[in-house]
Protein backbone atom coordinates (compact mmCIF):
# COMPACT_ATOMS: atom_id res chain seq x y z
CA UNK A 1 0.00 0.00 0.00
CA UNK A 2 1.10 3.53 -0.70
CA UNK A 3 -0.28 4.73 2.63
CA UNK A 4 2.50 5.72 5.00
CA UNK A 5 3.21 3.74 8.17
CA UNK A 6 2.45 5.80 11.31
CA UNK A 7 5.78 4.89 12.84
CA UNK A 8 8.63 2.69 11.73
CA UNK A 9 10.54 0.28 13.96
CA UNK A 10 13.86 1.69 12.88
CA UNK A 11 14.54 4.95 11.06
CA UNK A 12 17.54 4.21 8.92
CA UNK A 13 19.15 7.18 7.25
CA UNK A 14 22.22 9.28 6.68
CA UNK A 15 23.94 12.17 8.36
CA UNK A 16 25.80 14.29 5.85
CA UNK A 17 28.54 16.49 7.20
CA UNK A 18 28.79 19.61 5.07
CA UNK A 19 31.84 20.71 7.05
CA UNK A 20 34.09 18.00 5.71
CA UNK A 21 32.65 17.18 2.29
CA UNK A 22 35.21 18.20 -0.30
CA UNK A 23 33.01 17.60 -3.33
CA UNK A 24 35.18 14.83 -4.75
CA UNK A 25 32.12 13.05 -6.24
CA UNK A 26 33.35 9.64 -5.09
CA UNK A 27 29.99 8.89 -3.42
CA UNK A 28 28.23 9.85 -6.65
CA UNK A 29 30.33 7.46 -8.69
CA UNK A 30 30.26 4.59 -6.23
CA UNK A 31 26.49 4.93 -5.91
CA UNK A 32 26.13 4.72 -9.66
CA UNK A 33 28.51 1.77 -9.85
CA UNK A 34 26.78 -0.21 -7.11
CA UNK A 35 23.29 0.50 -8.38
CA UNK A 36 24.21 -0.51 -11.90
CA UNK A 37 24.91 -4.01 -10.65
CA UNK A 38 22.78 -4.54 -7.55
CA UNK A 39 19.07 -4.30 -6.80
CA UNK A 40 16.69 -3.74 -9.71
CA UNK A 41 17.43 -2.77 -13.27
CA UNK A 42 20.84 -1.17 -13.90
CA UNK A 43 20.91 2.63 -13.69
CA UNK A 44 20.97 3.56 -17.35
CA UNK A 45 22.49 6.44 -19.26
CA UNK A 46 21.59 7.93 -22.61
CA UNK A 47 24.33 8.84 -25.06
CA UNK A 48 27.08 8.19 -22.51
CA UNK A 49 29.74 8.77 -25.17
CA UNK A 50 27.69 11.14 -27.32
CA UNK A 51 27.29 14.87 -27.51
CA UNK A 52 24.64 15.11 -24.83
CA UNK A 53 25.31 12.51 -22.19
CA UNK A 54 22.55 12.15 -19.63
CA UNK A 55 21.30 9.48 -17.29
CA UNK A 56 19.80 8.49 -13.99
CA UNK A 57 21.84 8.98 -10.81
CA UNK A 58 20.63 8.52 -7.27
CA UNK A 59 23.11 10.79 -5.57
CA UNK A 60 24.48 14.09 -6.84
CA UNK A 61 26.83 16.68 -5.36
CA UNK A 62 25.95 20.32 -5.90
CA UNK A 63 28.39 23.07 -4.87
CA UNK A 64 27.06 26.28 -3.37
CA UNK A 65 28.63 29.52 -2.29
CA UNK A 66 27.03 30.77 0.90
CA UNK A 67 27.63 34.29 2.16
CA UNK A 68 29.28 37.20 0.44
CA UNK A 69 32.76 38.63 0.05
CA UNK A 70 35.40 37.35 2.43
CA UNK A 71 32.70 35.67 4.53
CA UNK A 72 31.69 33.42 1.66
CA UNK A 73 31.97 29.68 2.21
CA UNK A 74 32.01 27.07 -0.50
CA UNK A 75 29.71 24.25 0.52
CA UNK A 76 29.78 20.96 -1.32
CA UNK A 77 26.33 19.55 -0.98
CA UNK A 78 25.61 15.86 -1.59
CA UNK A 79 21.92 15.21 -2.21
CA UNK A 80 20.14 11.86 -2.29
CA UNK A 81 16.79 10.59 -1.04
CA UNK A 82 16.08 11.79 2.52
CA UNK A 83 13.73 8.84 3.28
CA UNK A 84 11.14 11.23 4.72
CA UNK A 85 8.75 10.11 7.45
CA UNK A 86 5.96 11.91 5.59
CA UNK A 87 7.16 11.02 2.11
CA UNK A 88 4.85 12.76 -0.40
CA UNK A 89 6.27 10.60 -3.21
CA UNK A 90 4.78 7.46 -1.65
CA UNK A 91 1.17 8.53 -1.18
CA UNK A 92 0.78 9.88 -4.74
CA UNK A 93 1.79 6.58 -6.34
CA UNK A 94 -1.22 5.04 -8.09
CA UNK A 95 0.19 1.56 -8.64
CA UNK A 96 1.54 0.62 -5.23
CA UNK A 97 5.12 0.62 -6.52
CA UNK A 98 6.29 3.27 -4.06
CA UNK A 99 6.45 2.16 -0.47
CA UNK A 100 7.86 3.20 2.87
CA UNK A 101 8.85 0.15 4.83
CA UNK A 102 7.47 -0.08 8.35
CA UNK A 103 10.44 -2.11 9.61
CA UNK A 104 13.25 0.31 8.77
CA UNK A 105 11.67 3.39 7.14
CA UNK A 106 13.43 2.94 3.79
CA UNK A 107 11.47 4.44 0.87
CA UNK A 108 11.64 2.00 -2.03
CA UNK A 109 10.25 1.54 -5.54
CA UNK A 110 9.04 -1.91 -6.54
CA UNK A 111 10.26 -1.78 -10.11
CA UNK A 112 7.98 -4.61 -11.21
CA UNK A 113 4.93 -2.48 -10.38
CA UNK A 114 6.04 0.99 -11.52
CA UNK A 115 4.28 2.23 -14.68
CA UNK A 116 6.58 5.22 -15.14
CA UNK A 117 4.01 7.99 -14.77
CA UNK A 118 6.55 10.20 -13.00
CA UNK A 119 4.11 11.67 -10.49
CA UNK A 120 6.28 10.69 -7.51
CA UNK A 121 9.20 12.67 -8.96
CA UNK A 122 6.91 15.70 -9.16
CA UNK A 123 5.76 15.18 -5.59
CA UNK A 124 9.31 15.05 -4.20
CA UNK A 125 10.45 18.61 -3.38
CA UNK A 126 14.13 17.56 -3.34
CA UNK A 127 14.47 15.98 -6.76
CA UNK A 128 15.50 12.66 -5.26
CA UNK A 129 13.81 10.52 -7.90
CA UNK A 130 14.89 10.09 -11.50
CA UNK A 131 13.29 8.08 -14.27
CA UNK A 132 15.43 5.33 -15.72
CA UNK A 133 15.79 6.25 -19.40
CA UNK A 134 15.92 2.69 -20.70
CA UNK A 135 13.82 0.74 -18.19
CA UNK A 136 11.05 3.36 -17.94
CA UNK A 137 10.67 2.92 -14.19
CA UNK A 138 11.37 5.34 -11.37
CA UNK A 139 14.74 5.08 -9.67
CA UNK A 140 15.72 6.32 -6.27
CA UNK A 141 18.19 5.79 -3.45
CA UNK A 142 17.50 2.43 -1.78
CA UNK A 143 19.85 3.19 1.11
CA UNK A 144 21.68 0.25 -0.45
CA UNK A 145 19.11 -2.16 0.91
CA UNK A 146 21.04 -4.86 -0.97
CA UNK A 147 24.22 -4.08 0.99
CA UNK A 148 23.09 -3.27 4.51
CA UNK A 149 21.33 -6.63 5.01
CA UNK A 150 23.73 -8.60 2.82
CA UNK A 151 25.48 -11.24 4.92
CA UNK A 152 27.63 -12.24 1.95
CA UNK A 153 29.53 -9.00 2.34
CA UNK A 154 32.13 -8.43 5.05
CA UNK A 155 30.67 -6.44 7.96
CA UNK A 156 32.44 -3.18 7.11
CA UNK A 157 30.88 -3.32 3.64
CA UNK A 158 27.34 -3.60 5.03
CA UNK A 159 26.72 0.14 4.76
CA UNK A 160 25.47 2.20 1.78
CA UNK A 161 27.99 2.50 -1.04
CA UNK A 162 28.24 6.29 -0.66
CA UNK A 163 29.08 5.98 3.04
CA UNK A 164 31.63 3.24 2.44
CA UNK A 165 33.48 5.17 -0.23
CA UNK A 166 33.59 8.67 1.27
CA UNK A 167 37.27 9.51 1.85
CA UNK A 168 36.51 12.30 4.36
CA UNK A 169 33.83 10.51 6.40
CA UNK A 170 31.27 13.12 5.42
CA UNK A 171 28.52 10.52 5.31
CA UNK A 172 27.32 8.44 8.25
CA UNK A 173 24.72 5.69 8.22
CA UNK A 174 22.59 4.41 11.07
CA UNK A 175 19.31 4.20 12.94
CA UNK A 176 17.88 7.51 14.14
CA UNK A 177 15.49 5.67 16.47
CA UNK A 178 18.48 4.38 18.42
CA UNK A 179 19.73 7.23 20.65
CA UNK A 180 23.12 5.57 20.99
CA UNK A 181 23.80 5.37 17.24
CA UNK A 182 26.45 7.52 15.58
CA UNK A 183 23.87 9.32 13.47
CA UNK A 184 21.75 10.17 16.52
CA UNK A 185 24.79 11.39 18.44
CA UNK A 186 26.07 13.46 15.52
CA UNK A 187 22.75 15.12 14.83
CA UNK A 188 22.36 15.84 18.55
CA UNK A 189 25.84 17.18 19.22
CA UNK A 190 26.43 19.12 16.02
CA UNK A 191 24.15 21.71 14.49
CA UNK A 192 21.96 19.58 12.25
CA UNK A 193 19.22 20.74 9.91
CA UNK A 194 16.34 19.35 7.87
CA UNK A 195 16.12 20.39 4.23
CA UNK A 196 13.01 22.43 3.39
CA UNK A 197 11.24 21.84 6.73
CA UNK A 198 8.39 24.02 5.42
CA UNK A 199 7.47 21.22 3.01
CA UNK A 200 6.32 19.11 6.00
CA UNK A 201 8.05 16.00 4.70
CA UNK A 202 9.91 15.30 7.98
CA UNK A 203 13.09 14.03 6.33
CA UNK A 204 15.06 11.35 8.17
CA UNK A 205 18.45 12.35 6.75
CA UNK A 206 20.13 15.21 8.55
CA UNK A 207 22.73 17.70 7.35
CA UNK A 208 25.49 18.98 9.63
CA UNK A 209 26.24 22.63 8.93
CA UNK A 210 29.75 23.79 8.09
CA UNK A 211 31.79 25.74 10.62
CA UNK A 212 31.09 29.42 10.36
CA UNK A 213 34.03 31.37 9.05
CA UNK A 214 32.32 34.72 9.34
CA UNK A 215 34.33 37.62 10.66
CA UNK A 216 37.69 36.13 9.80
CA UNK A 217 39.67 38.98 8.32
CA UNK A 218 41.79 38.30 5.33
CA UNK A 219 45.27 39.75 5.51
CA UNK A 220 48.16 39.39 3.14
CA UNK A 221 50.77 37.23 4.86
CA UNK A 222 53.82 39.47 5.45
CA UNK A 223 57.54 38.74 5.56
CA UNK A 224 57.18 36.18 2.85
CA UNK A 225 57.83 36.62 -0.81
CA UNK A 226 58.14 34.00 -3.48
CA UNK A 227 60.94 36.00 -5.10
CA UNK A 228 62.98 35.65 -1.90
CA UNK A 229 63.17 31.95 -2.43
CA UNK A 230 64.97 32.52 -5.70
CA UNK A 231 67.18 35.48 -4.83
CA UNK A 232 67.94 34.87 -1.20
CA UNK A 233 71.57 35.46 -0.33
CA UNK A 234 73.22 32.33 1.07
CA UNK A 235 74.68 32.43 4.56
CA UNK A 236 77.05 30.30 6.68
CA UNK A 237 78.85 27.49 4.92
CA UNK A 238 76.73 28.00 1.81
CA UNK A 239 77.97 31.61 1.69
CA UNK A 240 81.60 30.44 1.90
CA UNK A 241 80.99 27.86 -0.86
CA UNK A 242 79.28 30.52 -2.89
CA UNK A 243 82.14 32.97 -2.43
CA UNK A 244 84.88 30.40 -3.06
CA UNK A 245 83.25 29.03 -6.15
CA UNK A 246 82.82 32.57 -7.37
CA UNK A 247 86.58 33.20 -7.10
CA UNK A 248 87.61 30.24 -9.19
Amino acid sequence: MTSLPKTTERRLGLVIDLDVCVGCQACVVNCKAWNSGGYGAPLADTEPWGNQPSGAWLNRVHSFEAGTGTDATVVHFPKSCLHCDDAPCVTVCPTGASIKRSEDGIVLVDESKCMGCGLCAWACPYGAREMDPSEGVMKKCTLCVDRIYNDNLPEEEQVPACVRTCPTHARHFGDFNDPTSTVSALSRERESVDLMPEQDTRPVNKYLLPTERKGAEYTEPDGFNLADLVEREPSGILAWVDRTLGQI
Binding site: M1, T2, S3, L4, G23, Q52, P53, S54, G55, A56, W57, H62, S63, F64, E65, A66, G67, T68, D71, T73, V75, F77, K79, P88, V90, T91, V92, C93, P94, T95, G96, A97, K113, M115, G116, C117, G118, L119, A121, W122, A123, C124, P125, Y126, G127, E130, M131, G136, V137, V193, D194, L195, M196, P197, Q199, Y207, L209, P210, E212, K214
Partner: protein
Protein backbone atom coordinates in the same frame (compact mmCIF):
# COMPACT_ATOMS: atom_id res chain seq x y z
CA UNK B 1 7.10 22.10 -15.12
CA UNK B 2 7.43 20.46 -18.50
CA UNK B 3 4.13 20.84 -20.39
CA UNK B 4 3.68 17.33 -21.82
CA UNK B 5 1.25 17.47 -24.73
CA UNK B 6 -0.28 14.13 -23.77
CA UNK B 7 -1.28 15.51 -20.38
CA UNK B 8 -2.64 18.75 -21.84
CA UNK B 9 -4.75 16.91 -24.42
CA UNK B 10 -5.88 14.53 -21.74
CA UNK B 11 -7.06 17.09 -19.20
CA UNK B 12 -8.60 19.42 -21.81
CA UNK B 13 -10.50 16.74 -23.75
CA UNK B 14 -11.54 14.60 -20.83
CA UNK B 15 -12.56 17.75 -18.95
CA UNK B 16 -14.95 18.77 -21.74
CA UNK B 17 -16.05 15.16 -22.27
CA UNK B 18 -16.90 14.52 -18.63
CA UNK B 19 -18.48 17.96 -18.50
CA UNK B 20 -20.79 16.97 -21.34
CA UNK B 21 -21.55 13.63 -19.72
CA UNK B 22 -22.40 15.35 -16.44
CA UNK B 23 -24.61 17.94 -18.14
CA UNK B 24 -26.39 15.35 -20.26
CA UNK B 25 -26.87 12.89 -17.42
CA UNK B 26 -28.23 15.63 -15.18
CA UNK B 27 -30.41 17.66 -17.50
CA UNK B 28 -31.44 14.86 -19.79
CA UNK B 29 -33.74 13.28 -17.25
CA UNK B 30 -36.69 11.71 -19.01
CA UNK B 31 -39.25 13.48 -16.87
CA UNK B 32 -41.05 14.99 -19.80
CA UNK B 33 -40.62 18.57 -18.64
CA UNK B 34 -36.99 18.79 -19.61
CA UNK B 35 -36.35 20.87 -22.70
CA UNK B 36 -33.39 18.71 -23.57
CA UNK B 37 -35.48 15.58 -23.73
CA UNK B 38 -36.14 16.60 -27.30
CA UNK B 39 -33.05 14.68 -28.36
CA UNK B 40 -32.04 11.17 -27.40
CA UNK B 41 -29.48 10.73 -24.63
CA UNK B 42 -27.49 8.20 -26.55
CA UNK B 43 -25.69 10.59 -28.90
CA UNK B 44 -24.45 13.20 -26.39
CA UNK B 45 -23.35 10.47 -24.02
CA UNK B 46 -21.50 8.85 -26.88
CA UNK B 47 -19.79 12.12 -27.83
CA UNK B 48 -18.93 12.94 -24.21
CA UNK B 49 -17.71 9.42 -23.58
CA UNK B 50 -15.60 9.50 -26.74
CA UNK B 51 -14.00 12.84 -25.83
CA UNK B 52 -13.24 11.55 -22.35
CA UNK B 53 -11.88 8.26 -23.68
CA UNK B 54 -9.59 10.00 -26.18
CA UNK B 55 -8.36 12.09 -23.27
CA UNK B 56 -7.72 9.04 -21.14
CA UNK B 57 -5.88 7.29 -23.98
CA UNK B 58 -3.68 10.40 -24.37
CA UNK B 59 -2.79 10.15 -20.69
CA UNK B 60 -1.76 6.52 -21.13
CA UNK B 61 0.66 7.70 -23.84
CA UNK B 62 2.44 9.65 -21.13
CA UNK B 63 3.31 6.47 -19.23
CA UNK B 64 6.69 4.87 -19.74
CA UNK B 65 5.26 1.40 -18.99
CA UNK B 66 1.65 1.52 -20.24
CA UNK B 67 1.44 -2.26 -19.94
CA UNK B 68 1.23 -1.77 -16.19
CA UNK B 69 -1.47 0.92 -16.31
CA UNK B 70 -4.03 -1.50 -14.85
CA UNK B 71 -2.18 -1.37 -11.57
CA UNK B 72 -3.20 2.28 -11.24
CA UNK B 73 -6.65 1.21 -10.01
CA UNK B 74 -5.21 -0.29 -6.84
CA UNK B 75 -4.15 2.64 -4.62
CA UNK B 76 -7.38 4.58 -4.25
CA UNK B 77 -6.86 4.90 -0.51
CA UNK B 78 -3.96 7.34 -0.85
CA UNK B 79 -3.50 8.37 -4.48
CA UNK B 80 -5.59 10.91 -6.39
CA UNK B 81 -4.26 9.56 -9.68
CA UNK B 82 -5.59 6.14 -8.76
CA UNK B 83 -8.96 7.62 -7.74
CA UNK B 84 -9.15 9.53 -11.00
CA UNK B 85 -8.68 6.33 -12.98
CA UNK B 86 -11.38 4.50 -11.01
CA UNK B 87 -13.89 7.36 -11.26
CA UNK B 88 -13.22 7.79 -14.97
CA UNK B 89 -13.68 4.14 -15.87
CA UNK B 90 -16.73 3.82 -13.60
CA UNK B 91 -18.35 6.88 -15.21
CA UNK B 92 -17.64 5.62 -18.72
CA UNK B 93 -18.93 2.13 -17.97
CA UNK B 94 -22.11 3.59 -16.54
CA UNK B 95 -22.87 5.41 -19.78
CA UNK B 96 -23.81 2.21 -21.58
CA UNK B 97 -26.71 1.17 -19.29
CA UNK B 98 -27.68 4.84 -18.94
CA UNK B 99 -28.02 5.33 -22.67
CA UNK B 100 -30.16 2.21 -23.01
CA UNK B 101 -32.18 2.67 -19.81
CA UNK B 102 -33.32 6.14 -20.78
CA UNK B 103 -36.21 5.26 -23.10
CA UNK B 104 -37.19 2.12 -21.15
CA UNK B 105 -37.22 2.90 -17.46
CA UNK B 106 -37.26 6.51 -16.35
CA UNK B 107 -36.58 5.88 -12.65
CA UNK B 108 -33.58 3.74 -13.42
CA UNK B 109 -32.37 6.35 -15.90
CA UNK B 110 -32.62 9.09 -13.29
CA UNK B 111 -30.63 7.05 -10.77
CA UNK B 112 -28.00 6.08 -13.34
CA UNK B 113 -27.90 9.64 -14.68
CA UNK B 114 -27.32 11.15 -11.27
CA UNK B 115 -24.62 8.57 -10.59
CA UNK B 116 -22.90 9.15 -13.94
CA UNK B 117 -22.87 12.90 -13.53
CA UNK B 118 -21.56 12.61 -9.97
CA UNK B 119 -18.78 10.30 -11.14
CA UNK B 120 -17.92 12.67 -13.99
CA UNK B 121 -17.60 15.60 -11.61
CA UNK B 122 -15.53 13.45 -9.25
CA UNK B 123 -13.23 12.46 -12.13
CA UNK B 124 -12.49 16.08 -13.01
CA UNK B 125 -12.07 16.88 -9.31
CA UNK B 126 -9.63 13.98 -8.91
CA UNK B 127 -7.66 15.17 -11.96
CA UNK B 128 -7.31 18.61 -10.42
CA UNK B 129 -6.31 17.17 -7.05
CA UNK B 130 -3.39 15.34 -8.66
CA UNK B 131 -1.87 18.79 -9.13
CA UNK B 132 -3.42 20.63 -6.18
CA UNK B 133 -1.92 18.11 -3.73
CA UNK B 134 1.69 18.74 -4.78
CA UNK B 135 3.29 20.99 -2.20
CA UNK B 136 6.53 21.12 -4.18
CA UNK B 137 4.74 23.13 -6.90
CA UNK B 138 3.35 26.15 -5.04
CA UNK B 139 1.56 27.44 -8.17
CA UNK B 140 -0.77 24.43 -8.10
CA UNK B 141 -1.25 23.95 -4.41
CA UNK B 142 -4.46 25.89 -3.89
CA UNK B 143 -8.20 25.20 -3.62
CA UNK B 144 -8.50 27.35 -6.73
CA UNK B 145 -7.01 24.57 -8.87
CA UNK B 146 -10.01 22.20 -8.48
CA UNK B 147 -12.33 25.18 -9.01
CA UNK B 148 -10.43 26.02 -12.19
CA UNK B 149 -10.60 22.48 -13.58
CA UNK B 150 -14.28 22.10 -12.70
CA UNK B 151 -15.14 25.50 -14.21
CA UNK B 152 -13.51 24.66 -17.52
CA UNK B 153 -15.12 21.21 -17.55
CA UNK B 154 -18.51 22.88 -16.99
CA UNK B 155 -18.03 25.54 -19.68
CA UNK B 156 -16.73 22.99 -22.22
CA UNK B 157 -19.47 20.50 -21.36
CA UNK B 158 -22.37 22.94 -21.56
CA UNK B 159 -21.00 24.45 -24.76
CA UNK B 160 -20.76 20.96 -26.25
CA UNK B 161 -24.35 20.31 -25.19
CA UNK B 162 -25.37 23.52 -27.01
CA UNK B 163 -23.59 22.37 -30.16
CA UNK B 164 -25.32 18.98 -30.03
CA UNK B 165 -28.71 20.57 -29.43
CA UNK B 166 -28.30 22.72 -32.52
CA UNK B 167 -27.15 19.67 -34.48
CA UNK B 168 -30.21 17.68 -33.43
CA UNK B 169 -32.48 20.63 -34.20
CA UNK B 170 -30.88 20.80 -37.60
CA UNK B 171 -31.47 17.10 -38.20
CA UNK B 172 -35.02 17.29 -36.85
CA UNK B 173 -35.92 20.25 -39.01
CA UNK B 174 -34.42 18.83 -42.20
CA UNK B 175 -36.20 15.53 -41.54
CA UNK B 176 -39.42 17.43 -40.78
CA UNK B 177 -39.80 15.75 -37.36
CA UNK B 178 -41.26 18.74 -35.64
CA UNK B 179 -41.48 22.48 -35.41
CA UNK B 180 -38.20 24.32 -34.95
CA UNK B 181 -39.53 26.74 -32.33
CA UNK B 182 -39.24 24.34 -29.38
CA UNK B 183 -35.79 23.31 -30.54
CA UNK B 184 -34.69 26.91 -30.71
CA UNK B 185 -35.61 27.35 -27.07
CA UNK B 186 -33.48 24.41 -25.97
CA UNK B 187 -30.49 25.77 -27.87
CA UNK B 188 -31.02 29.29 -26.55
CA UNK B 189 -31.13 27.95 -23.03
CA UNK B 190 -27.86 26.05 -23.44
CA UNK B 191 -26.20 28.96 -25.23
CA UNK B 192 -27.13 31.32 -22.39
CA UNK B 193 -25.90 28.95 -19.67
CA UNK B 194 -22.74 28.18 -21.68
CA UNK B 195 -21.99 31.90 -21.99
CA UNK B 196 -22.32 32.30 -18.24
CA UNK B 197 -20.15 29.25 -17.60
CA UNK B 198 -17.45 30.51 -19.97
CA UNK B 199 -17.51 33.92 -18.33
CA UNK B 200 -17.22 32.41 -14.84
CA UNK B 201 -14.47 30.00 -15.92
CA UNK B 202 -12.25 32.81 -17.20
CA UNK B 203 -12.90 34.86 -14.07
CA UNK B 204 -11.66 31.84 -12.08
CA UNK B 205 -8.65 31.52 -14.40
CA UNK B 206 -7.84 35.22 -13.93
CA UNK B 207 -8.04 34.87 -10.15
CA UNK B 208 -5.82 31.80 -10.42
CA UNK B 209 -3.25 33.83 -12.39
CA UNK B 210 -3.39 36.69 -9.87
CA UNK B 211 -2.75 34.21 -7.08
CA UNK B 212 0.16 32.70 -9.04
CA UNK B 213 1.79 36.12 -9.26
CA UNK B 214 1.42 36.62 -5.51
CA UNK B 215 2.64 33.14 -4.63
CA UNK B 216 5.77 33.35 -6.74
CA UNK B 217 8.15 30.57 -5.76
CA UNK B 218 6.34 29.79 -2.52
CA UNK B 219 7.76 29.30 0.95
CA UNK B 220 10.92 27.43 0.03
CA UNK B 221 14.10 29.29 -0.82
CA UNK B 222 17.61 28.24 -1.80
CA UNK B 223 18.55 28.82 1.84
CA UNK B 224 15.87 26.51 3.21
CA UNK B 225 16.66 23.98 0.47
CA UNK B 226 20.31 23.84 1.52
CA UNK B 227 19.90 24.62 5.22
CA UNK B 228 22.50 27.37 4.81
CA UNK B 229 20.23 30.23 5.90
CA UNK B 230 22.61 31.39 8.60
CA UNK B 231 25.41 31.93 6.11
CA UNK B 232 23.60 34.61 4.13
CA UNK B 233 22.82 34.72 0.43
CA UNK B 234 23.48 31.40 -1.23
CA UNK B 235 24.11 30.70 -4.89
CA UNK B 236 24.96 27.70 -6.99
CA UNK B 237 28.67 27.62 -7.65
CA UNK B 238 28.94 24.37 -9.58
CA UNK B 239 26.04 22.30 -10.85
CA UNK B 240 26.28 18.57 -10.13
CA UNK B 241 26.40 17.73 -13.82
CA UNK B 242 27.27 19.58 -17.00
CA UNK B 243 24.37 18.37 -19.14
CA UNK B 244 20.67 18.11 -18.55
CA UNK B 245 19.01 15.31 -16.61
CA UNK B 246 15.51 13.99 -15.93
CA UNK B 247 14.93 16.59 -13.23
CA UNK B 248 15.97 19.58 -15.31
CA UNK B 249 14.03 18.29 -18.33
CA UNK B 250 10.89 17.52 -16.36
CA UNK B 251 10.80 20.38 -13.89
CA UNK B 252 13.07 23.12 -15.17
CA UNK B 253 10.94 24.33 -18.07
CA UNK B 254 11.56 28.02 -18.77
CA UNK B 255 10.42 28.63 -22.36
CA UNK B 256 6.80 29.12 -21.32
CA UNK B 257 7.48 31.84 -18.81
CA UNK B 258 9.18 34.05 -21.41
CA UNK B 259 5.98 34.49 -23.45
CA UNK B 260 3.52 33.87 -20.66
CA UNK B 261 1.68 37.20 -20.77
CA UNK B 262 1.15 37.05 -24.55
CA UNK B 263 -0.08 33.46 -24.35
CA UNK B 264 -2.45 34.34 -21.53
CA UNK B 265 -4.07 37.02 -23.65
CA UNK B 266 -4.28 34.65 -26.62
CA UNK B 267 -5.89 31.93 -24.50
CA UNK B 268 -8.36 34.42 -23.05
CA UNK B 269 -9.26 35.69 -26.53
CA UNK B 270 -9.66 32.23 -28.08
CA UNK B 271 -11.16 30.49 -25.10
CA UNK B 272 -13.30 33.27 -23.68
CA UNK B 273 -14.03 36.32 -25.77
CA UNK B 274 -14.38 34.69 -29.16
CA UNK B 275 -16.76 31.90 -28.01
CA UNK B 276 -18.86 34.50 -26.18
CA UNK B 277 -19.13 36.65 -29.32
CA UNK B 278 -19.94 33.61 -31.44
CA UNK B 279 -22.63 32.48 -28.99
CA UNK B 280 -24.05 36.00 -28.96
CA UNK B 281 -24.21 36.01 -32.73
CA UNK B 282 -26.35 32.83 -32.67
CA UNK B 283 -29.07 34.96 -31.09
CA UNK B 284 -29.48 37.14 -34.17
CA UNK B 285 -33.17 36.89 -34.98
CA UNK B 286 -34.17 34.65 -37.88
CA UNK B 287 -30.72 33.06 -38.00
CA UNK B 288 -31.11 29.65 -39.68
CA UNK B 289 -30.52 26.64 -37.42
CA UNK B 290 -27.68 25.53 -39.67
CA UNK B 291 -25.85 28.77 -38.82
CA UNK B 292 -26.51 28.27 -35.14
CA UNK B 293 -24.82 24.92 -35.46
CA UNK B 294 -21.82 26.32 -37.38
CA UNK B 295 -21.31 29.27 -35.01
CA UNK B 296 -21.67 27.22 -31.84
CA UNK B 297 -19.32 24.56 -33.22
CA UNK B 298 -16.74 27.25 -33.91
CA UNK B 299 -17.25 28.58 -30.40
CA UNK B 300 -16.61 25.09 -28.99
CA UNK B 301 -13.45 24.58 -31.04
CA UNK B 302 -12.03 27.98 -30.08
CA UNK B 303 -12.95 27.40 -26.46
CA UNK B 304 -11.19 24.05 -26.44
CA UNK B 305 -8.09 25.62 -28.01
CA UNK B 306 -8.08 28.47 -25.50
CA UNK B 307 -8.49 26.10 -22.56
CA UNK B 308 -5.72 23.90 -23.97
CA UNK B 309 -3.45 26.93 -24.15
CA UNK B 310 -4.24 27.94 -20.59
CA UNK B 311 -3.58 24.35 -19.55
CA UNK B 312 -0.20 24.52 -21.29
CA UNK B 313 0.58 27.63 -19.25
CA UNK B 314 -0.67 25.83 -16.12
CA UNK B 315 2.36 23.57 -16.48
CA UNK B 316 4.85 25.88 -18.17
CA UNK B 317 4.50 28.66 -15.62
CA UNK B 318 4.64 26.41 -12.56
CA UNK B 319 7.99 26.17 -10.79
CA UNK B 320 9.10 23.13 -8.85
CA UNK B 321 11.13 23.48 -5.65
CA UNK B 322 13.86 21.29 -7.18
CA UNK B 323 14.81 24.27 -9.39
CA UNK B 324 16.16 25.87 -6.20
CA UNK B 325 19.05 23.42 -6.37
CA UNK B 326 19.93 24.42 -9.94
Amino acid sequence: MHPALSIIFFSTLSGAGFGLVAVTSLTGQPDGSSVILAYPLFAPLFVGGTLASIGLLCSVAHLRRPDRAWRAFSQWRSSWLSREGIFAVAALLLLVPLAFANPIDSTLAIVLGLLASALSVLTVFATSMIYAQIRAVPAWRTALTPVLYLSFAASGGILAAAVLTSLFSLIAVTQGFYQPAARGQAFDGFAAVASMAIFIAWIVQSVWWIRLKRTGTGLSTIQSATGLERFGPTRLLEPPHTGSNYLTDEMGFVVGRRHASKLRILSLLCGGLLPLLLLLSTQISDLPISWQFVLSSLAFIFHLFGVGLSRWLFFAEARHTVSLYY
